[in-house]
Amino acid sequence: MFDFLRKQLMMLIPVMLGVSILVFLMMSLTPGGAIEAMVLRGGAQVSGEDLARFRQEMGLNDPLHVQYLRFLRKALRGDLGRSLRTNRSVSEMLWEQLPATMELAVAGMGLAVIVGVILGLVSALCQNSWMDSVSMALSLVGWSMPSFWLGLLMILVFALHLDWLPITGEGGRLARLVLPALTLALGTSGLIARLVRSAVLEVLRMDYVTTARAKGLAERLVISRHVVRNALIPVVTMVGLQFGRLLSGTVIIETVFARQGIGRVTVDAILTRDIPVVQGAVLLFAVIYVLSNLAVDLSYALIDPRIRHR
């Protein structure tokens, strides 16, 4: 078990290396340089000559591999550099923003799983009833709605017209989390619901379920002891895979709901070609993604005793 853990954690290194090279290449090859992007956004009076000088000062004229190695050398010492735009330390920025994103992503995923599992279970157990149809319709709608639109809609309805929830700081952390987490969750919950439904239906057909029923076990216990656990395995896999998608969803949600977060910082950095920040943020995302997949792998051991004893 620990061997397994160790091996997986070692995998992080080549992943991060690969990711950082990719990001660097992409940012460098994307048209538009950092200086111009920042000046355009801010609107100060800068001449062409100034632009050229700034580029030189920031070392942006050096060949790509030189720039990359410079970054790598510092990164290995734990220094992710400073933002080209604000001169703040990148690691400080990310550290500051990380809790908000994790909070949102975990809450979103949690909600998605709860809603998805309930809907999926209901659908499967009452297959082809009106509840089944409604659940599946809801899941389709949730999956199809663009999060930007849905987010704004939620704000309009729940924050403005009904005035149940706040937008800015007042009201506490939890209150501010509800709407964005819900918006984020709706899409993924639809997917999970469908998955749970088909997984449960599959399991219901299994011999051991028939046996359990034949034994005289109460339906309630059949479901809780046999069906749910077996159906969960594909679901857990899906949750792991979806977590990455959810993380990227935070980008839009954070902007719409005026929340702190790495997603928002990343978008701003991309638009201003703030390469050090983008590098740092994407690396962080990569680490989170790998770790969350690891957590999923480990959870199999928890759910499925067959794996534990291998």
């Binding site: 009076q45 062409g48 632009l51 080209l84 403005l160 902007t255 910082v265």
Partner: protein
């Protein structure tokens, strides 16, 4: 049973979509036409109520993270810079220059030396005294301070040579060339005076996160991506005379909350979570103004108006007649009335009426005249083709590609222009690109038509988009290489005599329009939204920036 389920699903989907659509259409219905927009900043006559104060929540769209005026490039930060810093000179709401930290000043005959007599009663937030040394320190570090890039402050210093400390409260600032625009520069928050003690203490790199100035508010706290907060400076007593009072500001504190998304910011205002916001979405202005709980503060921005630059190095825009035809073919007046409901006024030249030195003559130069446009095009050798689009003698179609960095408002204006150009036989394609990518194209001169708008006050700012030195490197996306333009720009910067300057820039505006280097569209009006309970916010002529010194919140 199967059929029933299917029907049910279809019905549910349709109902949900309908409900969703209905909900999204929710909102107070637009009322009749609002009263005509107020041009002067809203100044409610104050009858000195008991204690004015309040804690202000200000929703702002820009993620400011560095408060060093010498290091930042973003002009959106200016309102906040004016909370913590003061400038030597102020550009008042009426357009005149007022004493700030400098009580008086003299300018040498040749315009190369400025002498300032400083106030003697000013202190920095860290307790250290404000004096000539501080002014010298501030100016010297601009251009030297290696903090972030872009540094808007540098561009404002002209041909700065040195600052001489004559005595504790007198400085002489020397320039290589006459610099008539220095007063305008000085009133810019980027030249706010910083505490030398604080800079030495924190170092150039970190000072921006622990700013210390002499302003009416003291920097308190900054949480990235969330908010920045400021507290009243109880010792403040050197406000310029155009304000309603002296002494400390009324507001106890100001919290600026970052809300990047315009719609969300507006909702926060309507909910009362913020009392003030910047950049009201244009199409919501009418509704907000009509609502008596709120007010909209407008001010015209001095700027290169929102316009389309015509690439004079690319066929067929290298032909003057073709360019002029484009200008005659477009009716900006109707466009702003119909499309924008009058939120932004039409533009006619390379400057806005809010710029000092704006020449009204540009407004008469290209009246809407599609027939004249047609004539010019025919004269230039473009005959109407089979589908209505003109072709030249080689059969090439008169097609112009337009590139822009997004923005719903702009998109509408381009569609309008596109339709009007089509009437005279010109085809215009419109492409949206991310702004940095668009920049590369425009600089290289690949496309025919570019979008640009640029905020600046003194007309010498025109250099970055019209001087030939900025063709291929800067923002000269019309790729103008015109000796007369270069000459006028250089003369304008070097001349000290104000009347002479005005004449020079007048000629420059006329010449640029005669050569039809640009198609002006509209002037952006800065739109701040506020609760009706917030009084006495002053909008500065540069309009991206407001003063909160006199402001207070009604109970």
């Amino acid at each position: 049973m199967f059929r029933k389920a299917r029907t049910f699903i279809h019905l549910s989907v349709i109902m949900l979509t309908v409900v969703g659509l209905l909900l999204s259409a929710c909102g107070p219905k637009p009322t009749e036409a609002p009263p005509p927009p107020t041009e002067a900043p809203t100044e409610v006559p104050t009858e000195a109520p008991a204690a004015k104060g309040g804690s202000l929540n200000y929703g702002n769209h820009d993620a400011i993270e560095n408060f060093d005026p010498a290091a930042t490039y973003s002009s959106w930060i200016q309102s906040e810079l004016m909370l913590i810093y003061d400038t030597l000179v102020h550009w008042g709401p009426d357009g005149d220059y007022y004493p700030g930290l400098a009580e008086s000043w003299e300018i040498s005959e040749d315009g190369k030396t400025y002498t300032f007599h400083l106030r003697q009663d000013v202190k920095f937030h860290d307790g250290t005294p404000f004096n000539a040394e501080a002014v010298k320190y501030t100016f010297d570090r601009i251009g030297v301070a290696k903090t972030t890039i872009g540094k808007g402050a540098e561009g404002l210093m002209g041909t700065y040579e040195s600052t001489e400390v004559v005595d504790d409260y007198t400085v002489k600032v020397h320039f290589e060339q006459a610099f008539a625009a220095f007063l305008s520069s000085l009133s810019d928050p980027f030249l706010g005076i910083v505490s030398p003690t604080a800079v030495e203490k924190w170092g150039d790199e970190e000072f921006g996160f622990h700013p210390v100035g002499t302003g009416p508010f003291v920097f308190k706290e900054f949480v990235g991506g969330s908010y920045r907060s400021y507290e009243r400076n109880p010792d403040y007593n050197w406000a310029p005379s155009f304000f309603n009072h002296q002494g400390p500001p009324y507001l106890e504190d100001v919290t600026v909350r970052l809300i990047e998304e315009g719609a969300t910011r507006l909702v926060a205002l309507e909910k009362g979570e913020i009392h003030l916001m910047d950049r009201v979405p244009e199409l919501e202005v009418e509704r907000i103004e009509a609502d008596e709980r709120f007010q909209v503060l407008r001010a015209e921005t001095p700027m290169l108006p929102e316009c389309i630059l015509l690439n004079t190095q690319k066929y067929p825009l290298d032909d003057l007649e073709v360019r002029q035809a484009i200008l005659y073919a477009v009716d900006q007046e109707t466009m702003v009335d119909v499309l924008f409901e009058g939120v932004y006024p039409a533009a006619y030249g390379p400057l806005s009426p809010a710029n000092p030195g704006y020449w009204e003559g540009v407004e008469e130069m290209y009246p809407f005249d599609p027939e004249k446009a047609q004539e010019l095009l025919t004269e230039a050798g473009w005959e109407p083709g089979p589908d209505g689009i003109r072709v030249d003698k080689d059969g090439n179609r008169l097609t112009l590609d337009m590139v822009y960095p997004g923005g719903e408002f702009r998109a509408r204006s381009y569609e309008y222009v596109q339709a009007q150009l089509r009437e005279v036989g010109i085809e215009m394609t419109i492409q949206e690109l991310e702004s940095a990518a668009m920049y590369e194209m425009a600089v290289a001169g690949e496309n025919a038509l570019s979008q640009l708008q640029w905020g600046f006050a003194d007309p010498s700012g025109m250099r970055i988009m019209w001087h030939s030195e900025n063709d291929g490197t800067g923002f000269n996306w019309s790729h103008v290489r015109d000796e007369r333009v270069d000459e006028l720009l250089e003369k304008g910067e070097a001349t000290a005599d104000l009347a002479e300057r005005e004449a020079i820039y007048q000629e420059l505006q006329k010449h640029i329009m005669e050569e039809a280097y640009m198609l002006p569209l509209y002037v952006i009006t800065a739109l701040h939204g506020a609760s009706a309970k917030l009084h006495d916010v002053k909008v500065r002529p540069s309009a991206r920036h407001i003063w909160l010194y006199d402001a207070y919140l009604e109970e």
